[in-house]
Symmetry: C2
Subunit: 400 residues, 2 copies
């Protein structure tokens, strides 16, 4: 029997989805599971996007261009201008199968196997998966819950940089912490990128969900045209996770042309998703405002609720719709599993993502969970009650 | 300025799409271009598939499961049974973003960087791209136009096998040659796979287009449950190239579970495409028969027409909707370019894929092109006239 590849064995299981079998088991028993584990927004997709599906007038669902439809890419130029990203044309934009594909293609085009990339931990777990896929070594610099997950000191980055370092990856606003990097912090990253001639791969899919009054600064506005690669997606901002439409944006022509070869190999991004995304972009101001207000209200409600539970602590996240919170347990993964297998209150329980999977250092985040506030306030309230009761029961249980 | 990765530079441009800029240029001049270069079927998508889009009753276009919807996977079990593929359940089937993703994930799960895979040349060019992506060395065994592109002798395979060989990749019916491997030939492949304990990655996306009376044998029916990985796609059989729905099917549980980790990293396959594919599978017998009859009639017409042009030779392909033909020119790529840049007849020209891009050996296929007969018969007839005239003009031109 032929063997599995080493890299296949090395691929991590998703910390967001790895407990899914236990959740399915609970559901089969008739238990209602509140999903705080995954950033699957419950808000509706823009009606224009849904309507576009009904008015598709094609006889054949054919390939689209490998780089995506020019019409969608031109609209995106206007969209980015609203966020201070100027001096780009549709020729700087490539449509990908979700932001995921944009990340993988950026890694492949910019780094060789064995090259090193630096990211902040806790960090989006699938970056590690794509790095393993591409044979890239990830070095992490640690941000701490007691600092609100602010950017680690420049010295920590410099300590991690070696002659093999090729890129810094920055997720801003951050998943999983919800931290929004300040203009000052971005300036520090810029100086590192220039000093060591690195790529800066910037995942900014949550840019519409920034709850501070400070102006949001995109990495694309740092004046590093040859270094910056923007990863983007419509998944979160239009509640369109399922259509798999992302973008890779860069002013670096060589990177663009190399990524295009990967795009040609996989032929084309999803046709139907592009049609939906195209219809969703325009005249979406009211929709965006409503989503923003809703997430902000949920955040205020949810974080306050978390911090009112004895032993639970969450910093106030200023962006995205996640937080990393510490719990009064030694092993949050065990607690998360137990919630799915053992804990029930009125036939309900909660599912959370153990935060250890978002750290490279196995000693960190053991008592933390990532929580997504993508449920309606009523469900969030119920989730908070369940969490409070579960913690009490877990810590009072007699273990044989 | 940071550098492009070596592997990025090594990525080949698609021989199918690399001349696209010249075709676009011609179109901008008002020239009508007949696309013989790409397997983009012109036949309509099943009406049920199109109707499914109009009846989508979702408020949110959310993630689907990483492995795809269970309903679609269950329907596929029934579909495969019709082709003699039995003893599988939905748990052997994973939905991917097109067959392309299934190929890449199979490579990643089964082979390490530096491992070797054997395929027949000429072969589907993007296999090479995915191999470069995964750091796999491709060794080719050559099939020849004068043999009708039949399976090369077993000795040629054995000569190519080294201690690093991990897999044989077989596309059946074959793209680009249209060759259908016989049960005897498959038996020879089976013996190699067993003798050297290899994976057999079988791309059978054209199984519905086999024009012989011999029974079609899938690699899944060879009795090699731990070795065979089937790559599949609805793109061609339902004219749904744009929806990006493919499948990876295997009875090898370790391969399945490893591929699932790659699937989890990229979150989910396209939601909308799955809805269309699901609706397309059932009650599609009349549709499939019509497509089959149409392609068969086109094949008969087109191959006869090709062979009636002085100096042109095409074997009779028994499957898929491609052929590799030799032309009376020394450099088919130059000729293909010239057709797009210089040749016009009544404001029209043809686009073909130079076959050299389908060979690893740079000396082979220089006078060959891959042609797809996915145009209606009227357009095929016109294309044949254009090819005849273009060859005459090209070979009569005075080159300074």
């Amino acid at each position: 029997m032929p063997q599995i590849s080493h890299r296949g064995l090395e691929m991590p299981s998703s910390p967001i989805r790895k407990l899914a079998p236990l959740a399915n088991e609970a559901k089969l028993q008739g238990v209602k599971v509140y999903h705080l584990n995954i950033g699957q927004p419950d808000l509706p997709t823009p009606q224009k996007g849904l309507d576009a599906l009904k008015s598709i007038d094609r006889k054949t669902l054919e390939y689209s261009p490998s780089e995506g439809f020019i019409g969608l890419r031109e609209k995106l130029v206007g969209y980015y201008a609203k966020f201070g990203i100027n001096d780009i044309t549709h020729e700087n934009i490539i449509i990908t199968s979700g932001g995921s594909e944009a990340i993988l293609f950026a890694f492949l085009a910019c780094m060789n196997p064995g090259d090193e990339m630096i990211m902040v931990e806790p960090g989006y777990a699938n970056y590690i998966s794509f790095a393993v896929t591409a044979g890239i070594k990830v070095k992490t610099v640690t941000s701490y819950i007691e600092d609100g997950f602010k950017l680690p000191p420049v010295e920590d980055f410099e300590e991690a940089i070696t002659p093999h370092t090729r890129a810094i990856l920055l997720c801003n606003p951050n998943n999983p912490t919800g931290y929004v990097y300040s203009p000052d912090e971005l300036q520090k990253i810029k100086e590192l990128v220039v000093k060591y001639d690195l790529y800066l791969i910037a995942d900014e899919v949550y840019r519409e969900f920034v709850y501070t009054d400070e102006p949001y600064v995109s990495a694309m506005s740092l004046g590093l045209p040859q270094n910056v690669i923007l990863v983007d997606s419509v998944s979160k901002r239009y509640s369109e996770c399922g259509i798999r439409i992302g973008m890779l944006v860069t002013r670096n022509r060589m990177v663009h042309d190399t990524v295009m070869k990967y795009c040609q190999a996989r032929l084309s991004p999803p046709l139907l998703g592009q049609i939906v995304a195209d219809a969703s972009i325009e005249g979406v101001e009211d929709y965006a405002r409503e989503c923003f207000d809703e997430y902000k209200a949920r955040r205020d409600f949810f974080i306050k609720g978390l911090n009112s539970i004895p032993g639970v602590y969450s910093p106030m996240p200023h962006g995205a719709f996640y937080t990393v919170a510490s719990l009064p347990v030694a092993d949050a993964e065990d607690f998360c599993r137990w919630c799915l297998t053992d804990f029930r209150m009125d036939g309900e329980t909660i599912m959370m993502a153990p935060a250890a999977g978002f750290y490279r250092n196995p000693d960190l985040g053991r008592n933390q969970v990532r929580l997504a506030y993508v449920l309606c306030r009523e469900d969030l309230q119920r989730s908070l009650m369940l969490l409070r009761a579960a913690l009490r029961a877990y810590n009072n249980r007699t273990v044989f």
